[in-house]
Symmetry: C2
Subunit: 430 residues, 2 copies
């Protein structure tokens, strides 16, 4: 092996992922040195509480009390695993990149909000900036888009980006149970946070989607333009109805670049059973990219967890150790296009709409009339389920048409005494 | 955009893939320049017959009659799309790398046979050598292993590596038809070669597997140690029996690195329906890598065709244009371990064995006794199908045990008058 100097790492954050990175480098250090041509060595760490027992020997690393000061450590790359879109993580990122040191992070919120600023700073100081672990955990999907699919004009990128939601949806599907019950169980098992809204309302998936979109399309990160809803309002009956129609329900983050602008959404979708995403169950993540020459590429794997996330963090470090890195968003930050958000109303597609209605004469006619008046063509209508309060469920699948029409139909029905709950609208993945 | 000089390419071979590369660079050239920071320009081409009408304008490129001489073209990278493990392709590769120019190829046979020599030459002259398109067409799986999963000790890598076989098997499955019939149809449609043995006997998948194994395990390429059989002897009845047991039949290339050595095989397997590879249909390819931190990663996409293959070739060129490349096998060729092949007899697993037997008294007892005497524990035995000549099919699924025992049982039955055809042994993917 060549006698090249090690790549010296300073690590901010000693939680689950930080611990995973230490364990990984301990376990696979020799192998990594063979692959990278040099060792990767942790030289300093920082975390909130030095005294906390972490079960591993961290006394062998230098300790820095003030996390932001880690940027001044005698290291080549700072690895940030604190989290949070602003605060100490952002201060550390700015200080590190200003100093010309490399910066590797798993922080999707920070990259979604401040990625463009950080990439600009990194390019100005020619410092490596990498964030593979920020999207889809251990899956090398940033690399897959930035490099593997780099020869392609990407039409759209979409996937299952939140493991908690997919875990809940697959469990609802397998056991025929309702959302609230499964969420409570997932929380008890530690698969969902005690405040789960970041996950189940689609914010986390939105962060990841906006990062993917920038890398795929060469557009400026635009997290603010992501339309996100989540899975709170999905009933076991919706999943059963979807199954009867040949679909599975998945929370899909989808970004599309077109002449009308950049379109980004995170919504529950009906996914046809013959689509690979229909077979992604549990906490697994999966991302599809559609390129004009390569066709459909799928990347699938563990979207979270200390091992997979550490794998992605250290893959970034190996790229840096090898000197194989460049502009983080596939092209220089200054060249990213400032694209307007596309209007979802123009999108053509099929929809599933489920109404919760009072069990009385005339309700179906009222719904059908609203659809007709808005120009929505109905492919199928099923009245089947009944919920606790005596309400009845009516599920509609539309023919292809503009989303604007469905929105107008729902607007017409808003406030109707026939509806006992807000309708649930899911797109059908085409 | 920076005024960096273009990356100049000379292209050997103007068949389907060569034409795809030209079309891709024509279509996506501006986008590629934004991503790579410089243009990729074809400056010279070579093919067997200059006069042949290729439907595109190749007069704009320099022409070189003698393909080997293309190495002397005024170019930075030679792209080889001729094919063949030796002959002009190998001569061109050697001449190119000796001259210090970069070399990009889609030639799996050549890399499987001569990859170590070529990597050594490339490293000696510090020239880039890349072959993403040699494995699984458009899927960036070499990159996924070499870089994306580089932090992991990879336990095994396996997948669907031959689109022709998967097309035939999915068609047999969907339509309940036998191999010979579907093959003839695939040949008529151009999905299979007129001499299909390279594909259907597992040689092509074996080439790809041996390349994947080297990249994943850091072992020397050892195509000669790949045990390969194909799909010729699979009956529609085998696929139906597998389905009844909860499996789909797929041709799987699998490599595993363990203390007993390097294990590489290409055989038809029974894949559980809840495994992602069970849902890969048609000509699609898919590769799974299992790492000690990342867990199971899946890469899926088009395994062949001009567009996908061109996508991978040009992705390699973009890496080179960006200066983001290094040792082709993830570590320097001199460090690749010279690992002995592992003995398949030691492998523990479950097996499906189908016997074609005469419809007479005592046959089941004879088979059961051979299994017992070899120490094979039977999980299920089904006698169901009947083939044209009046023979009966007996399908056995074994409990977990060493493959040696199954081999011994089959050895005991060899030459038995009860068997009217050679038994078919398929491994069950665990």
């Amino acid at each position: 092996m060549s006698e090249t100097k090690p790549l010296r790492i300073a690590l901010a954050g000693l939680g689950t992922v930080g611990g995973g990175v230490i364990r990984l480098i301990d376990a696979n250090g020799d192998l990594i040195a063979r692959r990278a041509g040099r060792r990767i060595e942790i030289v300093a760490v920082s975390a909130r509480d030095r005294a906390k027992d972490r079960g591993g020997d961290i006394a062998r690393f230098g300790w820095v009390d003030d996390t932001t000061k880690l940027a001044e450590a005698d290291a080549d790359v700072i690895v940030e695993l604190i989290g949070g879109s602003d605060g100490p993580a952002l201060a550390l990122a700015r200080a590190t990149l200003a100093s010309g040191k490399g910066f590797v992070t798993a922080n999707k919120a920070m990259i979604a909000h401040h990625g463009l600023e950080l990439a600009t700073a990194a390019e100005a100081s020619r410092a490596p900036l990498k964030f593979e672990a920020a999207v889809a955990g251990g899956i090398p999907v940033i690399k897959g888009l930035r490099e593997g699919a780099a020869a392609n004009d990407i039409a759209r990128v979409y996937g299952i980006l939140n493991g908690t939601c997919n875990f809940i949806l697959s469990k609802m599907e397998a056991e025929g149970r309702d959302f609230a019950e499964v969420l409570a169980e997932a929380q008890a098992l530690g698969f969902a946070e005690s405040d789960p809204s970041f996950d189940i309302d689609g914010i986390d998936a939105g962060h990841k989607l906006s990062i993917l979109a920038s890398v795929a399309f060469g557009t400026r990160p635009a997290f603010g333009a992501v339309a996100a809803s989540g899975i709170r309002h999905i009933l076991a009956a919706d999943i059963a109805e979807a199954a009867a129609l040949g679909y599975r329900v998945r929370l899909i983050g989808l970004a599309e670049a077109g002449p009308q602008g950049l379109f980004q959404r995170v919504h529950a979708h009906l996914v046809p059973v013959d689509h690979p995403l229909a077979h992604v169950t549990g906490a697994t993540n999966a991302v599809v990219a559609e390129g004009n020459f390569v066709g459909r590429l799928l990347f699938q794997g563990a979207g979270a967890g200390d091992g997979p996330t550490a794998s992605a963090v250290v893959a970034d470090l190996i790229d840096i150790a090898r000197g194989e890195y460049g502009a983080p968003y596939a092209m220089p930050a200054a060249e990213l296009a400032d694209t307007l958000p596309a209007d979802s109303g123009d999108r053509i597609g099929r929809a599933y709409v489920r109404f919760t209605v009072a069990d009385k004469v005339g309700v179906l006619a009222e719904i059908a009339a609203a659809m007709r008046d808005a120009g929505v063509s109905i492919e199928s209508l099923i009245q089947r389920g009944r919920v606790g309060d005596g309400s009845v469920l009516v599920a509609i699948v539309t023919h292809e048409g503009p989303e604007r029409a469905v929105a107008q139909a729902l607007e017409r029905l808003r406030g109707s005494a026939s509806l006992t709950d807000t309708p649930l609208w899911m797109h059908i993945l085409g």
